[in-house]
């Protein structure tokens, strides 16, 4: 991977990786740190990375860095605070997008990650499996579960639909 390809990768994928991490963590500072860390790792390994695989490498690195960050966060954060955060949003929905954002936040981590990669980045099951380390069938199951959960969530809010 050349310097030009690396910089091109920054222009093309930095926003996507940032959105993906931000939607998972809902924390701008941590999301920004993870994006920077991921690009730093990619720059360090640029000699080993094929330019055409840069996007996959970037999301894989960001995903695993994010999972590590989530585990550390849970280890250091009490469950009460987590439960409080899960119910942080209740009112003021104005459209389906906001409801879906809230519903996505309630998904289990793995389901949220795979469905975000699927919808935000348009990854195939196989690509998502490469990023997350899951089998293709596992990815499929998680996505189906996530969609059903999201459907049931928005269906429960009849007033706003």
């Amino acid at each position: 991977m050349t310097t030009a390809e690396y910089n091109q990768c920054v222009d093309r994928h930095a926003d996507g990786v940032y959105r993906f991490v931000l939607k998972n963590l809902r924390d701008e500072d941590r999301a920004r740190d993870i994006v920077q860390d991921s690009f730093e790792k990619m720059w360090m390994k640029r000699d080993e990375i094929d330019g055409s695989k840069a996007r996959s490498y970037l999301f894989t690195t960001a995903y695993h860095t994010m999972i590590d960050s989530i585990r550390r966060e849970r280890f250091s954060t009490g469950m009460n605070e987590v439960a409080h955060n899960e119910h942080a949003y209740h009112d003021g929905y104005s459209d389906l997008k906001e409801i879906l954002d809230e519903a996505v936040a309630r998904l289990p981590d793995i389901q949220r990650s795979v469905v975000l990669l699927r919808d935000y980045e348009g990854y195939s099951y196989q690509e998502i499996g490469e990023v997350t380390g899951l089998s293709e069938s596992q990815v499929k199951v998680y996505i189906y579960r996530a969609r059903t959960t999201l459907k049931n969530y928005i269906g429960s809010l009849d007033a706003v639909i």
């Binding site: 920054v10 926003d15 920004r32 969609r147 459907k151 928005i154």
Partner: protein
């Protein structure tokens, strides 16, 4: 298999084994009767016997079943598996036949149709307004090793310096006589009819500031004199030799002929460079002097006009090491066999305006 030995009799030391075997069903009817008789004789152990019975596991786990088997079944859309089909429909994983089946199932009930419609809406869209704030900071700039870059610049500078040095060395210096312009070579010289004039040593000072003590200075010191002269002092070579008849006729050297015949500036410069390059190291400083001294001009002019092989003349001049015009005239006169005349003219202020050494060299102040 019973844990106890068949020869074993039940007592207070081994009753636990009989208890376990009883609940495992390993005791024979006779042994079971013996155990019951033992409990009758030892009523305090009855509670412990019943406790063994409580830890016995029943097979209720075997009754646990997976209730959602129907949801796993495929091939037909049913109320048990329709959510899977709805999700697969939304993902585009179904065949055309399955898609039709799903649509038909959804249309069979308003509630199912609503769920089907909701499933199609469950499609996340990235907020394009969210951008990474530090994108420019992530970019890297191409790094060229400083050493190689400096080497490139250094090499380029060295080439330019070399070319510039070569150019200025070849370029004729201001006031320096040009070989092609020397009249002695452009016009045939007449043979000397008699002995050359004696050098008017007492009357003709070599330089305006020259004294007897200064005549013995080294060539290096002589070379430094132009810096002391005013910048406006310029010399030119006259178009006609004043003392052309004072030297015997001679043939021009091959180098001179080449220099005189060639009008090509590049070749002329090449000749000049060759000429200067072959001068001895003793006069190297004179070559590099931007404004040549009078001695330098005379030296160059005499060299070009004496009837000797140029290399031989240079060797003899270098051996005699002349440091002034008078010594130069004497040296040249000695090896050409004729004393060399030295004439000069001064203006009303006593300033040297014209100088001639035999018919080899003559300059006139502008």
């Amino acid at each position: 298999m019973p844990l106890f030995n068949k020869a074993m009799r039940i007592d207070r030391t081994n009753y636990e084994i009989f208890f376990l075997d009883y609940f495992e069903g390993s005791l024979s009817p006779a042994q079971a009767e013996e155990l019951m008789a033992f409990l009758e004789s030892e009523p305090d152990l009855r509670a412990e016997f019943e406790a063994f019975e409580m830890v016995t596991l029943d097979d209720s786990d075997g009754k646990v079943v997976f209730c959602a088997k129907d949801s796993l079944k495929r091939g037909q859309v049913t109320p048990a598996n329709y959510e899977w089909y709805f999700a697969a429909y939304a993902e585009g994983d179904l065949s055309p036949e399955d898609r039709s089946a799903v649509e038909a199932f959804a249309a069979s009930s308003p509630q199912r149709q609503r769920e089907f419609d909701l499933m199609q809406k469950v499609r996340l869209q990235a907020d394009q307004a969210i951008v990474f704030p530090g994108k420019e900071g992530l970019k890297q700039r191409k790094v060229i090793p400083l050493y190689s870059q400096m080497m490139r610049y250094g090499a380029a500078a060295a080439v330019i310096l070399f070319m510039a040095t070569l150019f200025f060395v070849q370029l004729p210096q201001p006031g320096q006589p040009q070989l092609a312009d020397l009249p002695a070579a452009t016009e045939p010289t007449t043979p000397a009819s008699g002995p050359a004039e004696e050098l008017p040593q007492a009357e003709v000072p070599l330089q305006p500031e020259a004294t007897d003590t200064q005549r013995a200075v080294s060539p290096e010191r002589e070379a430094s004199r132009p810096a002391e002269q005013p910048a406006s002092r310029e010399y030119e070579v006259p178009s006609r030799p004043l003392l052309a008849s004072r030297l015997p006729a001679r043939a021009a050297s091959p180098i001179e002929v080449a220099a005189l015949q060639e009008t090509n500036m590049e070749q002329r410069s090449e000749f000049e460079y060759w000429h200067l390059r072959n001068r001895t190291d003793d006069f190297a400083e004179e070559v590099e002097t931007p404004v040549p001294s009078l001695f330098q001009l005379a030296y160059a002019g005499v060299q070009r006009n004496i009837p000797e092989d140029i290399r031989r003349v240079e060797e003899r001049l270098a051996a005699s090491r002349p440091s002034s015009l008078r010594e130069l005239a004497g040296a040249v006169g000695s090896f050409i066999g004729n004393p060399l005349g030295l004439e000069s003219q001064r203006d009303e202020n006593g300033r040297l305006v014209q100088l001639a050494v035999g018919n080899s060299f003559e300059i006139t102040r502008k």
